[in-house]
Amino acid sequence: MTISAASTVTVRVLLFASYAEAAGQTSFTLTLPAPATVASVLRLLRSQASDARLPERPLCAVNLAHARLDAPVASGDEIAILPPLAGG
């Protein structure tokens, strides 16, 4: 298997509920250096003033499943940042 040496990763980021309200948007695309993790997506978001409200360790999902902050992310992944859940 050949490992391509793409130098950047482009992901879709989704925000919901209070986070979407605070940021004023529900989805956007982010490009960051490879290799990338959920944590590096969060770091890039925090560098934007509109997302300063994010907690230190928000609940996150990658491609519709809960993910740890050290989970790798690849181009095309859908990264969701989830406010505290309140279903049930």
Partner: protein, 165 residues
């Protein structure tokens, strides 16, 4: 949508789906919109979801419960605007005997609260609104041993464990 609906919930069809001749116990749970939250009078509320993930996570929770307790489980959660007294979540769990039915039902509601991406914004009597932030949870019910390997890292986000919504 399979597990989410924007229409009023009805328990009877869920019970009908899980009943079968070999299952002698059926346990049900309804979560109902309360008229108060932390001392404030609630007029109505609105549930929103990350729909694609909520559907996937509900399917995982139901599959875990069915495998662990050899049960048949039906689950629906309402989204959109709800009034006081509306049913927000309905669960029916059927198993050979009552213990398994109760445990499967309890497991599903607790895991829905922990894992399914749903949010609730309440409208209060004074005209204000707020996103509900769950309180820290008490220890919760038994999890299937085979569910821990891919258990989500959500312990710090466990929702409050009131029986209602």
């Amino acid at each position: 949508m399979t597990f989410l609906t924007d229409r009023p919930l009805d328990l009877a069809p869920l019970v009908a789906r899980v009943m079968s001749p070999e299952r002698g116990g059926v346990a049900c749970f309804l979560g109902v919109v309360r008229d108060h939250h932390e001392g404030r009078t609630v007029k109505r509320l609105e549930y929103s979801a990350y729909e694609a993930m909520a559907e996937a996570e509900c399917a995982r929770v139901v599959a875990e419960a069915e495998a662990k307790w050899e049960a048949s489980v039906a689950l629906e959660h309402r989204i959109g605007r709800l009034e006081i007294g509306d049913v927000a979540v309905a669960i029916a769990a059927a198993a050979a005997h009552r213990d398994a039915a109760f445990m499967a039902c309890r497991y599903v509601i607790e895991q829905v609260k922990r894992r399914v991406p749903l949010w609730k914004r309440e409208d209060y009597a004074d005209g204000s609104q707020a996103w509900v932030t769950p309180r820290p949870a008490r220890p919760t019910v038994e999890r299937p041993a085979d569910a821990t390997s891919d258990a989500p890292p959500v312990s710090e986000h466990v929702s409050h464990t009131d029986w209602g919504v």
